[in-house]
Amino acid sequence: MLAQHLPALQVVIPLLAAPLCALFRRGFIGWLIAVAANWLAFAASIGLLIRVLNEGVISYAMGGWAPPIGIEYRVDLINVFVLLVVSGVGAVIIPFARTGTAARFNDTDQAWFYTMYLLALTGLLGVTITGDAFNIFVFLEISSLASYVMIAMGRDRRALTAAYQYLIMGTVGATFIVIGIGLLWAMTGTLNLADLAQRIPEINDTRPVLAALAFLTVGISLKLALFPLHLWLPNAYAYAPAVTSAFLAGTATKVAIYLFLRFFYTVFGGGGFFSSTPLPEMFLVLSIVAMFAASTVALFQDDVKRMFAYSSVAQIGFITLGISFVTEAGLTAAMTHLFNHAIMKAGIFMLLGGVMFRLASVKLEDMAGIGRKMPFTMGGIVILGLGLIGTPGTSGFISKWWIVLAALEKDQWWLVALILVASLITMLYVGRIVEVAYFREPSAKAASVREAPLAMLIPAYVLVAATIYFGLDTNWSVGLAQQAAADLLAGLY
């Protein structure tokens, strides 16, 4: 009976937990509720994965109203993969959240923080699981509004302006998405994604549908921080509390990428339509510019959190590059990197949270010589940094490998060269941190610090271990991504 209701429970568990946190208004109880809810949500995702592998696409009618009239929750391989990433990354981050949050906020604020966290989780899981276009918008705004609050709770006053900036740009993006959805609805009379996927291909050369496509492209690109629409991201990640940065880096942009895939491949009718528009070329160019421009900017940052925020923009470039190939290998690369990058970036921001907790700064100059004082924290950052570069033995290598494979499949040697050069820039900025942290005399601030508390280290090391594990065993990550890519290309839903 429980298995039958898993699609609803996936969203309902964190949704119920959020008001509970607000009701108790105690930091510790709020944290316990958040951990329980997040782990249950992760269990639900695993349950859904098992069901999808056994019986194929699951359809769940909300309130018993049959789709396409009622709201449908529809789970296939593609979104169960993203559900796993979101709830999994969350499940690792939330145990980490206790130490830093308890040290900074009073009881009430802690409880609100966990409420917002759970609402953001609800929204992201909802966007991923729902099969209704308008539902996507509502869940997207739930998650966005919660994440604006989570960003504004950073310790620097610049967190406020970052949150404001993100609010403006995020709302513009979401409104663009809803305009696109509105135009599609006006043309087809349906909001059900599966239904849209059947009706759109017949009319996908009409002007309103093309206008919808344009609005959706800009809106979703804003949400996924595609260069040059990434301007909200660096400040938001840099000044938010560590939990927020780790959670958003691991989940929010990934869900936006899922949305992109869902609309362009599923709703508009498989890979055929996508490659008939000028979009693949556009995304190819923008991805390459993102890889280079953002990596180069990252190289010159003095704030390490900001550096990795720019690195996120660059890594998103790698993902959209895979999408722009419109081949099975390219989409596999994109899905694999979505998975691997979520794990690596969340881990890095968690470890930086540990640095922030002890050192009260993540400025490069303050972190001089910290490698000897916080060996585990810095060791973890170095391993995850190697993953970002794409060193063999880490999961980053696997995704780079697939991207190179996809480029070779299209006989584009120059792209392979560009990917390698971009990885080289990544190596330079990771190398800069290694040099400062290990080969310089400790700064005055760094001299007195201790290793980060175990409650912060252990969750982060789960992600470090995952980065190495998925670099060696690719059955799950690549295997699932490959099947999902095939479904996407065929436009199956």
């Binding site: 006053r157 302006t161 409104t175």
Partner: protein
Amino acid sequence: MTEILADLNYWVTIFLLMGGLYIIVAHGNMVKKLVGLSIFQTSVYLLFISPGKVLGGTAPIIAPGFELYSNPLPHVLILTAIVVGVATIALGLALVVRIHEAYGTIEDDEVQEMEAD
């Protein structure tokens, strides 16, 4: 002329859309930006609501003597969108209040100047 008037709802939508977006981009005052954002979102309400009207149809409540009803779906959708809009503006204004407390100004360029040094 009649063709243009026939699509009047879309013209108003486009006008509000562009006007709102222009205010967001052109104004440095954070409250004014939020006003622009609100206008921008309003255009979407119109975009959804206007195609739902069936000419000659009444409110979608089943009653004897009426056969033609307007489409109720956009009303439900836009009620939700309005709530989202209210929440966004409330949160935005709350952030502006906090920014004012932290910086003493709500002008975008002045805040950036203060951060530059």
